[in-house]
C-alpha cells in the first residue's frame, strides 16, 4: 500500500505562499552574476591567453588521465588475526603419514603461509628412516588437483551432504533390515587400510548394519604371498624384511626397490647393505631373475632374464639345489635353462646361510610357498625375514574380491561402498567387474575424484586429500604413525559444498555418537595406544603425550608374539609337493606378457599428477606414455623401429591375448627376456583428469585369474605390426657411453685390492706421450705454481659447497628429480616439448647400458676406426649391465658458461656456486651450448602463461589452485631466461641465516639440497668441504671420488664416487 502521507519542509510549503512558489523553481537564491562577470574588462585584458588556456587544459587532461592510471593491483590478504604459528616467509613443518593404499611413508610436510608445498622424509620413523620416493614427493601436487571432486554427487548431479547422507542412510537401513540371512548385501570394498582407527570405524559400521561386510582388495595384489604364509604360519601375513642384513639377495622378479611391498623402506635398507667406505669394504650381492628390466634388476650384480612362466620353476630348482646342500634333497620337478646358474646361486646362498634373503614377486601361492621353504632352509627367518614383525601393507584378498564380484553379479549386493579403490579401472577383465557393478542398485563411492568407478556411482561422497585430514597408520606390528592435516580442506563452503573425510562419512552413516574423526582418533589412541592419554594422567599429560607423538609422527609399541599360530613343518612339506605340481602347470607359451608397474605411475592412483607423468622412467627414460617393452633383437626380426639415433618415432604393434587386443608403441628394451613383452599398468585412464586421460593404454583387464589369485602375466599372446607409428617422448635416446670414461666402475674384488680401481687418472695424449692433467693445464702458472696461490686461498676460506654423488648407492629411482621439481618450481612442459628434447628438470639421471663392443674388441675384430664408436653405441641386447648417473649443474670452478655470457648473467659465487641471475639474462643460450654437461635449461616459452602448458604445468592452471604448490622462495622464471640447478641456494640462505641468528657455525647436515634430502639411498651428500668434520670432506678424500669430464679442467664442485659391482664370482658364465 502506497504511503500517502505528505511531509512539508515548512509552513511556507504548506501554505504555498506566492513568494515561496516563485523561489521554489529557482536553483540559486540570488541571481548568478554572469553578465557582471563577462562584462568585466579585466577578462579581455587578462594575460592568460588562449594558448595558455590550452596549455593548462592539456596539462590538466594529461595529469588527470595519468592519475587515473593504476599500477597493477596485487591483492594480498593480510592476517587480520595472525595465527600464532604462521609467520610469512617462515616455513612450518608437520610430521604426517603418506599412505595411498600402496606405498607407506612417514613424512614431514613443509608448509608456507598455510600451504603444504613440499614433502620430505621423517627421519624418526624406524620404517622409512627419512626416505621418500618420487610418488610421495609428487603427492603434494595432487592436493591441488583441480579435478578432485569438490562436492558430493547424488545420481550424477552436484548435491549436498545432507541429501547424500539422508538418501544413503535410507538405503543402508533398508538393506540392513533384511536381516542376517542377507549378509553381504552391503559391502565396503577398499584397498588396504592400515589405519587401526579406520578399521574400527568400519567394524562399527558393520555393527550398525549387520548385513555389511568389508572386502579388502589391492589393484596390484600380494594375496598369494599372504596365503602361502597362512599355510605355513597359520596366519595370512606378510613378513618384514631386512635387506641391509642380507649378504646375498636373490630376487625372483620382485622389484623391491620401486614397487614390491614397501619399496621406500627396502631401498634404504638395500643401500645400507651396499654402501662402501674406508671402514666398510664389503657389500651385499644381489642376483635378480626377471623378465622385464626393472629398477631392481638394473641394480643387481647379476641379472638373469627369465620368462614369467619360469619364475616358479626357478624358485623350485633353487629350493632343490639348496635342499641338496642342506642334506635333504628334493628332486627337480622341471628343468630350466638356468639350472647351472641356479646351482651357483644356491651355493652362494648356502655359504651365507642365515644372512641371505630370497624374495619373489609372483602373486602365486605355489611360488611363495617355495620361497618360504628356501628362506626357512637357509635359516633366514629371524635374521633377514621377520614373521613376528608382520607387515600390514598389501592386505588385499583376491578370493574375497572375486566372491564379492560374483555376489554382485548374482544381485546379492544391494549397497556397495568403494573406498580408495577404483575397480572399474583396475579390475581384471576375467571377473567382469563392470557388468557386476552395473547390477548393484546402490553404488556409493568415497573416492576423492570422479574416477572410472565413481563416475557411474549413484553417490559420490568425496574424501579429503591426505594432507587435509587426520589419520593414523600401523604399517608393521608395533609400528604406529599419525597423519595430521597441514591445511584446512581446500574445497569447503561457501564456494563448494566441500569434501569430507571418509572416516567421518562412515561414522555419520553408522550413527556414531562422535562423528568428528579427530575426536574419534584421539579416543581410539587413548583407548588402545596411548594409555597416558587417559584422564587419570591429568590434562597436562594428555596434551603432552599426544603432542609429542604428533610432533614426531611416530609411536613404537612392543610386538606381542603369539607362537601358537605357527604352523608345523610337516604341513609345509606337504605344501611343497602341491606347489611343485602347480609350478609345472604354469601357463606358458606364445609371447608372455608381463604387466608391471612403472616407478612413476605405479598402479595409476596418482596418474593425474603431471610431475609423475613427466618423470622419465628410470630404465626407458620415456615420459608420458606406456608402451610394449620388447627385446631389440626380437624387434629387429619383426621389423619394428629400434628408435636408434635420436629417433622418437616408434612402431605401433597390436598385442592380442585371448581375443582382446591392445595397440601400443613398441619400445626396445635391452635385457628384456626373449619371448616376453612388458606393459606398464596405470595408464589408459579415462576419468583421471586432464593430465592423465588418454595417456597410454590400460593393461589391467589382462590381469589373469589363476589358482584363485591374480597373476600379473599372461601367456599365449601374439604380436603384429599395426602399421602405424607413434612418437615417444624420451629424454635420453643414446644408451651407451661409447667407451668414454663417464661413469667409472670397478668390481668389488678390484676395489678391495685397490680402492681407486676403475678411477685411474685420465692421461692426456701429448707429443711427449701420455701426461697427467696437471702437467698440461693451461692455468698452471697462474693458479697452481704461483707463490701467492690465490685460487686455493679463496677455496680454503669460509664456506665451500660440494655435492658428492655415490654412483654405487644411486638406484636411479627418480626421487630426487621430483623433489627438485617441487622445491625449485621447475615447470612441467608436456610430451610435445619432451619430444623436442626440452625437458626442464634441473637434475636428470643418465642411464647407460653396457655394450658388447669395446675399443679392444673392436680392434680385435678389425672393425675400422670410424665404425668402432657406432658399434659401441649399440647396447648389449640380451642382458646389459646398467648404471645410473645423476647429473645436475656441476658448479664448475672454471665454468665454461660463465666466461661466455655477454651480460654476466651467470657468475661464480664466493662459496663455489655457479649462480644464475635471471633478471640479467637476455637468453643468448651460449652458456647452454658451452656447458659440457648440458645441464642448463632454457625457458623456451612462458611456461606459466602460455596456453600450450595449460593442461600440464602446475604453475599455470585454469584456476589458481595449481599455483598454490609453488615454493615462494624460488622465483617462477619468465620466458627467455636460462635456468639450472642452484644447489638449492634458497635453502643455503635459510641455513646461513639460522646459524647467524644463533651466532654459531653451520652444522654439517643442517643444510641439504632437495635432491640430497630426498635420496632414499643417501647417494647424494651435500656439505661444506671446508668443514673438516663434514661428510663431504670425508668423501672427497675417498679414492673412489672423481670429477666428470675431468680432462676439460672445469673443476666442478660436484664429484662422483665410482660404482662397484659385486660380480667377481660370475654366475652368468
Amino acid at each position: 500500500m502506497a504511503n500517502e502521507k505528505k511531509y512539508w519542509k515548512g509552513l511556507e510549503e504548506l501554505n504555498e505562499s506566492p513568494a515561496f512558489v516563485k523561489a521554489r523553481d529557482k536553483e540559486f537564491a540570488k541571481e548568478v552574476p554572469i553578465e557582471e562577470f563577462l562584462g568585466r574588462e579585466s577578462i579581455t585584458t587578462s594575460n592568460t591567453s588562449r594558448r595558455d588556456f590550452l596549455k593548462y587544459l592539456g596539462f590538466t587532461v594529461a595529469a588527470a588521465s595519468l592519475a587515473a592510471c593504476e599500477s597493477p593491483v596485487v591483492k594480498t590478504i593480510p592476517y587480520v588475526i595472525k595465527p600464532e604459528e604462521v609467520t610469512p616467509g617462515i616455513d612450518n613443518w608437520y610430521a604426517s603419514t603418506f599412505f595411498n593404499g600402496e606405498d607407506y611413508c612417514s613424512v614431514l610436510i613443509k608448509t608456507r603461509d598455510g600451504r603444504p608445498i613440499k614433502i620430505e622424509g621423517n627421519k624418526n620413523s624406524p620404517v622409512t628412516r627419512g626416505a621418500v620416493n618420487a610418488r610421495v614427493h609428487a603427492s603434494v601436487l595432487s592436493l591441488y588437483d583441480n579435478f578432485r571432486a569438490k562436492t558430493p554427487y547424488v545420481h550424477g548431479g552436484e548435491s549436498t551432504w545432507d541429501l547424500a547422507d539422508k538418501e544413503v542412510g535410507a538405503k543402508l537401513a533398508a538393506a540392513a533390515s533384511k536381516g542376517e540371512s542377507a549378509k553381504g548385501n552391503i559391502a565396503i570394498l577398499s584397498s588396504t587400510i592400515i589405519s587401526p582407527s579406520t578399521r574400527e570405524i568400519i567394524a562399527g559400521f558393520i555393527e550398525k548394519y549387520p548385513t555389511a561386510k568389508h572386502v579388502t582388495w589391492d589393484a596390484v595384489s600380494f594375496s598369494g604371498m599372504r596365503k602361502a604364509n597362512e599355510q605355513y604360519f597359520g596366519k595370512a601375513v606378510l613378513p618384514s624384511y631386512s635387506f641391509d642384513k642380507a649378504k646375498t639377495i636373490v630376487s625372483i622378479a620382485a622389484d623391491f626397490l620401486t614397487n614390491w611391498i614397501s619399496p621406500i623402506e627396502f631401498s634404504k635398507q638395500y643401500a645400507d647393505g651396499r654402501r662402501l667406505s674406508k671402514k666398510k669394504k664389503d657389500m651385499s650381492r644381489h642376483i635378480q631373475f626377471e623378465s622385464i628390466m626393472s629398477v631392481s634388476g638394473a641394480n643387481a650384480d647379476t641379472r638373469i632374464p627369465i620368462k614369467p612362466s619360469e619364475e616358479g620353476a626357478v624358485a623350485y630348482n633353487l629350493y632343490a639345489a639348496i635342499s641338496k646342500l642342506a642334506g635333504s634333497p628334493v628332486g627337480n620337478v622341471t628343468s630350466t635353462p638356468y639350472d647351472e646358474q641356479i646351482s651357483k646361486v644356491a651355493a652362494e646362498l648356502w655359504s651365507n646361510k642365515g644372512n641371505s634373503l630370497v624374495v619373489a614377486g609372483a602373486n602365486d601361492v605355489a611360488v611363495q610357498s617355495v620361497v618360504n621353504m628356501i628362506n626357512k632352509t637357509l635359516g633366514n627367518y629371524g635374521s633377514t625375514v621377520n614373521i613376528d614383525r608382520e607387515c600390514n601393507l598389501r592386505q588385499g584378498n583376491d578370493e574375497e574380491f572375486a566372491a564379492l564380484v560374483n555376489d554382485m553379479k548374482a544381485g546379492k549386493v544391494e549397497v556397495l561402498i568403494t573406498y580408495n579403490t577404483n575397480p572399474a579401472y583396475t579390475a581384471s577383465a576375467a571377473l567382469g567387474f563392470k557388468e557386476a557393478y552395473a547390477k548393484v542398485p546402490c553404488k556409493i563411492s568415497l573416492a576423492s575424484s570422479v574416477d572410472e568407478t565413481a563416475s557411474t556411482a549413484d553417490y559420490i561422497c568425496p574424501d579429503h586429500n591426505y594432507l587435509e585430514s587426520w589419520n593414523d597408520a600401523n604399517p608393521y606390528a608395533g609400528q604406529y604413525s599419525l597423519a595430521q592435516p597441514a591445511i584446512a580442506p581446500l574445497f569447503c563452503k561457501p564456494r563448494h559444498e566441500g569434501t569430507r573425510c571418509a572416516q567421518e562419512t562412515l561414522l555419520k552413516w553408522s550413527g556414531a555418537e562422535i562423528t568428528d574423526y579427530y575426536s574419534y582418533l584421539q579416543n581410539y589412541w587413548k583407548k588402545n595406544l596411548l594409555p597416558e592419554l587417559s584422564d587419570e594422567g591429568g590434562g597436562y599429560l594428555i596434551t603432552n603425550a599426544w603432542n609429542s607423538t604428533l610432533q614426531s609422527g611416530i609411536l613404537e609399541k612392543p610386538i606381542v608374539v603369539n607362537d601358537s599360530e605357527r604352523g608345523s613343518s610337516e604341513l609345509a612339506q606337504a605344501n611343497i609337493s602341491e606347489a611343485a605340481s602347480k609350478i609345472v602347470n604354469a601357463a606358458k607359451g606364445g609371447i608372455e606378457v608381463i604387466l608391471y608397474q612403472k616407478t612413476s605411475i605405479g598402479a595409476g592412483l596418482q596418474s593425474n599428477n603431471p610431475w609423475l607423468q613427466e618423470l622419465p622412467d628410470p630404465i626407458s627414460k620415456v615420459t608420458w606414455d606406456n608402451y610394449i617393452t620388447m627385446n631389440p633383437s626380437e624387434m629387429k626380426d619383426k621389423g619394428f623401429s629400434l628408435l636408434e639415433e635420436d629417433n622418437h618415432v616408434a612402431s605401433v604393434a597390436t598385442l592380442t591375448l585371448n581375443g582382446s587386443s591392445i595397440d601400443l608403441p613398441v619400445f626396445p628394451q635391452p635385457g628384456q627376456a626373449k619371448g616376453t613383452v612388458g606393459i606398464a599398468l596405470g595408464y589408459g585412464r579415462t576419468n583421471a583428469g586432464r593430465v592423465a586421460n588418454g595417456v597410454g593404454a590400460n593393461a589391467f583387464p589382462w590381469v589373469q585369474w589363476t589358482n584363485n589369485t591374480f597373476q600379473y602375466y599372461a601367456a599365449g599372446a601374439t604380436i603384429a605390426s599395426a602399421n602405424k607409428t607413434y612418437t615417444i617422448g624420451a629424454t635420453q635416446t643414446h644408451n651407451t657411453m661409447i667407451g668414454r670414461p663417464i661413469l667409472k666402475e670397478a668390481t668389488l674384488e678390484e676395489y678391495q685390492k685397490n680402492p681407486a680401481a676403475g678411477n685411474e687418472e685420465e692421461k692426456i695424449k701429448t707429443i711427449e706421450g701420455l701426461k697427467s692433467l696437471k702437467d698440461v693445464n693451461l692455468w698452471d702458472d697462474f693458479d697452481k705454481k704461483s707463490p701467492v696461490n690465490l685460487t686455493n686461498n679463496a677455496e680454503n676460506l669460509g664456506l665451500r659447497w660440494k655435492l658428492a654423488i655415490d654412483l654405487n648407492s644411486c638406484i636411479g629411482c627418480g626421487s630426487c628429480v621430483v623433489s627438485c621439481t617441487a622445491e625449485n618450481n621447475v615447470p612441467v612442459v608436456g610430451k610435445s616439448e619432451i619430444v623436442l628434447v626440452r625437458e626442464m628438470h634441473w637434475i636428470r639421471i643418465d642411464r647407460y647400458y653396457s655394450s658388447d663392443m669395446s675399443w679392444e674388441k673392436a680392434k680385435e675384430q678389425d672393425i675400422t676406426e670410424s665404425n668402432r664408436e657406432y658399434a659401441m653405441m649399440i647396447p648389449s641386447t640380451d642382458n646389459p649391465e646398467i648404471a645410473f648417473q645423476p647429473v645436475m649443474c656441476q658448479h664448475c670452478n672454471h665454468a665454461p658458461c660463465e666466461t661466455v655470457c655477454p651480460v654476466l648473467a651467470t657468475s661464480h659465487g664466493s662459496e663455489g656456486i655457479n649462480q644464475m641471475v635471471y633478471n640479467r639474462c637476455v637468453g643468448t643460450k651460449y652458456c647452454a651450448n658451452n656447458c659440457p654437461y648440458k645441464v642448463r635449461r632454457f625457458n623456451w616459452f612462458n611456461y606459466y602463461r602460455d596456453e600450450k602448458f595449460l593442461e600440464v604445468n602446475p604453475a599455470q592452471q585454469s584456476n589458481e589452485l595449481g599455483r598454490m604448490v609453488l615454493n615462494p622462495d624460488v622465483v617462477v622464471r619468465s620466458r627467455g631466461v636460462m635456468e639450472k640447478c642452484s644447489l638449492c641456494i634458497q635453502r643455503i640462505q635459510v641455513g646461513k641465516l639460522k646459524a647467524k641468528l644463533d651466532s654459531r657455525q653451520i652444522k654439517d647436515g643442517e643444510i641439504k639440497t632437495a635432491c640430497a634430502q630426498s635420496c632414499p639411498t643417501e647417494a647424494i651428500v651435500f656439505g661444506n668441504v671446508n668443514d673438516p668434520e663434514s661428510q663431504v670432506a670425508e668423501l672427497i678424500k675417498d679414492e673412489r671420488n672423481y670429477l666428470l669430464l675431468a680432462d676439460l679442467d672445469t673443476q666442478p664442485n660436484v664429484f662422483y664416487m665410482t660404482k662397484i659391482r659385486n660380480k667377481d664370482k660370475a654366475i652368468l658364465e
Binding site: E645, D646, Q732, T733, H734, N735, T736, M737, G739, R740, I742, K765, E833, L836, V837, R838, E839, R844, D846, R847, Y848, E865, S866, E869, Y870, M873, Q885, V887, P896, T899, V900, C901, P902, V903, L904, R920, C921, V922, G923, T924, K925, Y926, A928, N929, N930, P932, Y933, K934, R936, F938, W940, F941, N942, D946, S974, R975, G976, V977, M978, T1050
Partner: protein
C-alpha cells in the same frame, strides 16, 4: 700516373667516353623500372613481410616456436647470422683491400659489393637480437652506464666482442660506401630534370662541388678509410669465429678458426657478389663495364679462398683424428659425422665447397657466365652448410652421449631466413634503382689507362673522345693520386 700494360685485356669495353659512362650509370636511376624489376621487387617484399611475420611470432611467443632443444641451443639463427656476416665480407674486401693493392678491376663492382655488404650485415644483425630469449633487453649487451652500480658487461665473452666488431664494421663500411657515393650523387644531381630528384640528390651529395680541394679530400679520406677498413675485414670474421673457437665444445675449440673463417667469408662473399653482378650487368645493361674479365678475376679469388677453406677442413679433419681424443671423434669434419644422421649436411658442405668449385681450374669455366652463376649459388649453399655443420653437428654429439639429440628447423625459423633474403633483395633492388650502381667517378680514371679506348685507340682520336661532360674537368687530379 697509372698505366696498364697494353697486352692486358681492357677493363672497359665499348670505347666509352666520359660522357657515355655518365649516361650508362645514370640510366637506371633516371629511367623507369622494367617489369622484371617490379616482379623481383614484389617477390622480395612478400618474402620480407613473411619474415617479419615470423619474427613477430617469435618475439611474441618465445623461441619455443623454433625447434632448438636443450643440447642444440643454436641452429638456423646463428647459422644464418654467420652466413650473412660472411657474405658481408666481400664488399669491404673489394673496396678497401683491393684499393690498397691498387686493383683497378674492382672499380666496376665495388659499389654494388659494398651495398651488398651493408645489406648483408643488416640481415645478419637481425639474428643475434632475435635469437635472444628476451630481445627487448638486447641493450644489456652494450656497456651502458646503469643504476646497478658496478654491473657491467662481460668483456671475456666473444659475444660481446661480436657486438663491437660488427657495429664497428658496419659503421665503417657504411661511411666508406657513402663517401664513394658522394661524387656520383652529385653527378645525378647535376643531371636532374625533376625538382624532387634535384632536392633529393642535393641532400645526398652533401654539397659536392667537384673542386680540386673536394677531390683531394675525397682521395685522402678514401685512403684513410681503406686503411681502417682493411683490418676490419679480417677482424670481424675472426671475432665471429671466436664465438666458437673460445668455446669448450669440441669441434668449436679450434685455433684454425679465425683464418679459416675469414677465408670462408671471402669465399662466400665473392660468390654472392658474382650472383648479384651477373644478374645486375644484364638487367642494367652494364655488360661493357662488368666484363668477363672481372668475372674471371673474381673466380680466381674464389678458387684461392676455396682452396684455403679446403685446407682448413683437412686440418680439422686431421687434427680430430690425430688428437686421439675420443670426444673429437664426432666433430663436424669427421668420418663419424659423415656417416651419422647429419651425413647429408656433411656431404652438402664437402660437395658444394670443395668438389664442385674445382671446375674453376678450367679457364673456360671461369669465363663462362652460366657456370659461374650456378657455381656462385652452389658455393653460398655450401658455405651455409659449413656454418650449419659447425654449429649443429658439433653440438649434437657432445661429451655425454645421454645428451645427444637431433634438430631440424621449424617453419618459423625457415620463414625468418626467407625473410632476410627478401629484405636483402628489397634493399638491393632499391639500391639498383636509386643509387649509381657503378662508382663512375672513380671508374673514369681507368678510361685513359686501361679502357678500351686506351687499348684500341681510334685512328684519329677526336678530342671529344676524351672529353669530359664538364663536370669531371678536374679529373686529372685523381690520376695523380693513383
Amino acid at each position: 700516373m697509372h698505366q696498364d700494360s697494353i697486352i692486358r685485356e681492357p677493363l672497359l669495353l665499348g670505347k666509352k667516353t666520359y660522357h657515355q659512362v655518365t649516361e650508362d650509370v645514370a640510366r637506371p636511376v633516371e629511367g623507369k623500372a622494367n617489369k622484371y624489376w617490379w616482379a623481383l621487387f614484389f617477390l622480395a617484399i612478400i618474402a620480407w613481410l613473411w619474415g617479419i611475420g615470423c619474427m613477430a611470432y617469435t618475439v611474441g611467443r618465445g623461441i619455443g616456436v623454433w625447434n632448438l632443444n636443450r643440447t642444440i641451443d643454436w641452429g638456423w639463427d646463428i647459422t644464418n647470422f654467420v652466413w650473412w656476416i660472411g657474405i658481408g665480407h666481400a664488399g669491404t674486401l673489394i673496396s678497401a683491400v683491393l684499393c690498397l693493392f691498387r686493383q683497378r678491376w674492382r672499380l666496376t663492382i665495388n659499389r654494388s659489393a659494398e651495398a651488398m655488404t651493408i645489406f648483408a650485415v643488416m640481415c645478419a644483425a637481425i639474428f643475434p637480437v632475435l635469437h635472444m630469449g628476451r630481445p627487448w633487453l638486447a641493450y644489456f649487451v652494450f656497456p651502458l652506464p646503469n643504476q646497478f652500480g658496478s654491473l657491467w658487461v662481460n668483456f671475456n665473452s666473444p659475444l660481446l666482442w661480436d657486438v663491437f666488431a660488427i657495429s664497428t664494421y658496419f659503421t665503417v663500411s657504411i661511411v666508406f660506401w657513402y663517401l664513394g657515393l658522394i661524387p656520383d650523387f652529385a653527378m645525378i644531381r647535376d643531371r636532374a630534370k625533376t625538382k624532387s630528384r634535384k632536392i633529393l640528390y642535393t641532400l645526398f651529395s652533401f654539397g659536392w662541388s667537384g673542386r680540386a680541394k673536394d677531390w683531394q679530400r675525397f682521395e685522402e679520406v678514401t685512403l684513410v678509410l681503406a686503411g681502417i677498413a682493411t683490418p676490419l675485414v679480417f677482424s670481424v670474421h675472426s671475432i665471429v669465429s671466436s664465438d666458437f673457437a673460445t668455446g669448450v665444445v669440441r669441434g668449436w675449440h679450434s685455433t684454425v678458426y679465425p683464418p679459416y673463417f675469414v677465408a670462408g667469408a671471402i669465399f662466400s662473399g665473392m660468390a654472392m657478389v658474382l650472383t648479384l653482378v651477373i644478374v645486375g650487368r644484364k638487367v642494367l645493361d652494364l655488360e661493357e663495364y662488368i666484363t668477363i674479365q672481372h668475372i674471371e678475376t673474381m673466380n680466381k679469388v674464389m678458387l684461392t679462398m676455396g682452396s684455403v677453406v679446403g685446407i682448413a677442413y683437412f686440418a680439422e679433419f686431421f687434427q680430430a683424428w690425430y688428437s686421439g681424443d675420443p670426444n673429437e671423434s664426432f666433430i663436424y669434419l669427421s668420418w663419424n659425422n659423415a656417416k651419422g644422421v647429419y651425413g647429408w649436411a656433411f656431404w652438402s658442405l664437402i660437395i658444394c665447397n670443395n668438389i664442385i668449385p674445382q671446375i674453376l681450374w678450367l679457364k673456360k669455366a671461369r669465363r663462362n657466365l652460366y657456370i659461374t652463376f650456378i657455381l656462385s649459388i652452389v658455393i653460398n649453399i655450401g658455405m651455409w652448410f659449413e656454418r650449419f655443420d659447425i654449429i649443429v653437428t658439433d653440438l649434437y654429439r657432445d661429451y655425454l652421449p645421454s645428451d645427444w639429440t637431433y634438430y631440424s628447423p621449424s617453419w618459423v625459423e625457415v620463414g625468418i631466413f626467407v625473410g632476410t633474403i627478401g629484405m636483402f633483395f628489397t634493399f638491393f633492388l632499391l639500391f639498383a634503382r636509386w643509387f649509381p650502381f657503378i662508382a663512375q667517378a672513380e671508374l673514369k680514371t681507368t678510361l685513359k689507362s686501361t679502357g678500351d679506348l686506351f687499348h684500341n685507340p681510334p685512328r684519329h682520336p677526336k678530342s671529344s673522345d676524351f672529353e669530359s661532360d664538364g663536370f669531371h674537368a678536374e679529373h686529372a687530379s685523381i690520376e695523380t693520386v693513383h
